[in-house]
Symmetry: C2
Subunit: 563 residues, 2 copies
């Protein structure tokens, strides 16, 4: 019997940045090693970042991944950590290729004494929801069990753990002390409520501790929440890392194997108490996911700053606060772009928000910009309304071109669903923080963020009026969103069934909604697919986000058969 | 021994339009039946259209597909065609579901005497290139062989034919007279040069005629080219339908089976000579694909008309002619939007083009529209240049809002690849005819179209000057594309290697290109992914189109490993 100290390195890789990701692994190893850890576990694809999408089809990228791992192994040894075992995730060349494309494995490697001493390739490849792994990866075969200084340890990669057949069943039939699972498992609302029961179930099946290491960070539309953890075979949580942050957590795991049969690893000389992070309320988890999604999009893509329009409405107010929480208010540029239809209240609310948040604030009236269009083109109705939204988009993009800002587009999921937006107007921008946040949840977030500010002795950032007033695009006199749409609580409930749960119109009507309303909403959703195809990406927080998760044709005509 | 007349119904379904697609099958059956056909074969997913994407995850849609087939079977019988066999493609419910999602088969059904008498589910599901079939379909099992009035016939669906294992091998081991393959196989350059050799190979392996029926028509970014054909076991082409058009072609096939063992079908009373369409030169096939793609996007989505900017350049000229060929010049609205940098030559070329094509023509100068932006925002450099392109986008969208036009965006694949465009400016539009056409191919198309016009005694539509002058965005004095980009023949050759063939920078340099240029182009391609994510769809003509075929992250940093 022996004790070995494991480190869970909850890292935040950047896709393609093999040098930077390798350095982060080296740094984490150095830190963990100095604290007695001799097994350092990093997330799925920690060398390459995840998801790599079709980069996995580039033989050049596969080779870079493999040589990156070899370089890292050598460097770990030369830096004095060769007697530890470092577990990395990477892309490796498959010996056979799939018909039509895939030629790489989603692999893990154990690095020890300067070399790759063992590998395992992911066997269950998710190909649903946001995942396209059967497109880009070849499945592996077999199981990997290694004796790590007496701790007999099995290895899995992400989806492997979620299915009971294959590697899970095979490891359950072995006598292991621990199962290490490396993951790049994206956040979605209430995901921890699925994840922890699964970890407990698997730990019981294995009769072993489960060491679950997840990536953290924003990568385009996905946010990885971390939540790395260790559960023992009774289902008790022994360690839980803070979510939405990079982390390095240690735990000592007892081995029942003969240490002489495996890698010789030094036992720890002291004892530690593993960290057990508190659970987060759902609303706070969503806020943190949005902030992390924005921060990492800005940081990883090298933007100096963020610009966004401030209308005085709730969406732009929440986006401004997310932006300030993400990168600091001094890097956020709010622009009020009032028209002749903008109420004084809206203008005041926009200014108040900017003042409280402490971001830059500029006022650019649009009257003088839209009038020449209206006159020259003789515009009326929707065409005239849309010109206003488009002039605002032009202002924001011009500021972006002048100063390098990332422009945020502030539309919420309810609007995105029904196409309640002006293309090339309020849709302008590179990132859409609220794209996956229904309007009713936007209000909840605003209230929660204000309460949190109060609890911390800060001024609530979002003007009460922005929360309580009737939503309006203010493109014509006395317009409100409810001129065109049902109340948002009704709309969001219908959208939850129609979009998120893929229910039919009939099923939604059976759930108690007005048929005419449901049919109208369904037609709006189908008819605005072309807008969504040209929409900015934004952080996914639900189990059915627009974008890569929901793939539907633009050209579609819903009819029943001949009768 | 008996002869049975087969009909190849090269149909153009609309996704989701079960009633309309069923009516098209009924009409084709009626026509073919009256001409003696007793086996009528329609394309893959002829009931639902293809691709249905995540509609396949809707149990409601699956049921509509199944009941649509049942209704059609009944209607065929009540209309007097019950004694024929009609082969349809449809979505059917799978008895088991895939982990994570898919619960439908991509199936075919034989309809006879008012009922479904046999079914087969596609076994090989393509999940590469533009296909996501492992995401949405459950693979089938087994083979289907039916005696159709003495013609012993095996059945396959599309991808099944391309792989030698599974159903192809199993049918080759049977004694069949014919193999019917139903397809929704999208066009790409030189696809017929792969398709016909494959058909000949398979016909020899089966020792039987292959009856290949493909869909035709544009469906969002895919164009199905038809090219339905019959080859005998010696590899001879006995029938070939006209490409890029709906068609109904007949052929008599000899059966060696005992007709009493199968369906009793009437033999034809006359003889026919099957149609063998001529091959198309590649350039003509591309032109036809673009025209069909535009026509079907307009028609299936119910647009009354098309609007596009006419700059006097080659891209907009070619798009205007494609639009006119697609829906008639009287439904095409060209808008010249000159700035102070627009040369007189460009303005003349735009007007000349519109005159020859015969489309509507309007001039909307932008000077008075951009000046207020420049003044109010104090714009210089790129920001000022982009305002001009964005003012043009606003004009076109305003006209679209007023009149219902579909706006075409005229950027070509070379520009799309390197991001040589103004977001929300020249990228504005719902459909991009040249999105998959490199600039050098745009010139080839222009020359070819002019030559064809001359050959037909028509005026060549594209002004010679638009073809020969140096390309320019005309956003500043004396600007040409080559201020920022290498010559297009060099650029396109590099892009072909980097993008289409996914080669590394090193490999492209080894092929003889300047390293600095290749690296710059590679960085432009990676850095403009965010623009492509917000780009309009356009017809795919290559084997590596931007959009659903090439899935890469926006956030990406290409580095090698530690050294």
């Amino acid at each position: 019997m022996s004790w070995i100290r494991f480190a869970l390195a909850q890292l935040n890789p950047i896709v393609g940045d093999i040098a930077g990701n390798s350095r982060a692994i080296l740094d984490a190893t150095s830190n963990a090693y100095s604290r007695g850890a001799r097994v350092i576990v990093t997330p799925e694809m920690s060398i390459t970042g995840y998801p790599v999408d079709d980069l996995a089809s580039s033989i050049d990228f596969i080779r870079q991944s493999e040589s990156g791992v070899a370089s890292l192994a050598a460097r770990l040894a030369s830096d004095g950590f060769g007697d530890a075992v470092v577990v990395v995730g990477y892309l490796s060349e498959a010996s056979d290729t799939e018909f039509g494309g895939a030629r790489a494995h989603n692999s893990l490697a154990l690095l020890h004494e300067g070399r790759i001493v063992a590998t395992y390739a992911k066997r269950h490849l998710p190909n649903y929801s946001v995942f396209d792994e059967e497109r880009v990866f070849v499945p592996g075969a077999g199981t990997l069990v290694q004796n790590l200084g007496g701790v007999v340890t099995g290895f899995l990669i992400c989806e492997d753990l979620w299915r009971s057949d294959g590697p899970v069943a095979e490891l359950a039939a072995r006598n292991v002390d621990a199962v290490v699972v490396i993951n790049a498992s994206p956040f979605e609302l209430a995901k921890d409520e699925m994840r922890f029961p699964l970890l407990a179930t698997r730990a019981a099946e294995f009769g072993a501790s489960v060491v679950y290491v997840n990536a953290v960070g924003g990568q385009d539309d996905l946010v990885f929440d971390g939540d790395s953890a260790v559960l023992d075979s009774s289902g008790s949580t022994l360690l839980r890392a803070t979510r939405f942050e990079s982390a390095l957590e240690l735990i000592d795991i007892r081995g029942n194997g003969e240490s002489a049969d495996g890698f010789t690893l030094a036992e720890p000389e002291d004892t530690i108490t593993p960290f057990i992070g508190a659970d987060l309320p759902d609303i706070e988890a969503v806020w943190n996911a949005l902030v992390l999604g924005v921060r990492d999009y800005v940081t990883k893509n090298g933007f100096p700053s963020i610009a966004l329009g401030l209308s005085g409405g709730i969406d732009s107010a929440v986006c401004a606060v997310i932006a300030a929480d993400a990168i600091g208010a001094n890097r956020v540029y709010g622009v009020s772009m009032p028209s002749k239809y903008s109420s004084d209240g809206s203008k005041d609310d926009a200014r108040d928000l900017a003042t409280i948040v402490g971001c830059h604030y500029d006022v650019q009236p649009i009257a003088g910009l839209v009038a020449p269009f209206e006159t020259q083109l003789e515009l009326t109705g929707i065409a005239a309304e849309n010109i206003q939204a488009r002039a605002r988009g032009m202002i924001l993009m011009a500021l972006s071109n002048q100063h390098g800002h990332l422009v945020l587009t502030t539309g919420n999921k309810s609007e995105v669903a029904v196409g309640y937006s002006t293309m090339y107007g309020d849709t302008v921008g590179g990132f859409a923080p609220l794209k996956d946040v229904f309007k009713t949840l936007v209000w909840d977030l605003a209230r929660w963020r204000n309460v949190r500010a109060s609890a911390r002795g800060e001024t609530p950032p979002i003007p009460l009026n922005s929360i309580t007033k009737a939503p309006s695009a203010e493109l014509r006199p006395d317009q409100t969103d409810q001129d065109s749409l049902p109340p948002y609580d009704v709309l969001d409930a219908i959208l939850e069934l129609l979009v998120a749960q893929r229910q039919s119109v009939n099923a939604v009507v059976s759930a108690g909604f007005d048929r005419e309303t449901v049919e109208r909403i369904a037609n709006l959703v189908a008819g605005s697919e072309w807008k969504r195809r040209q929409a900015a990406i934004g952080p996914r927080i639900s189990q059915m986000a627009f974008g890569r998760e929901r793939r539907l044709p633009i050209t579609v005509r819903h009819t029943s058969g001949l009768v």
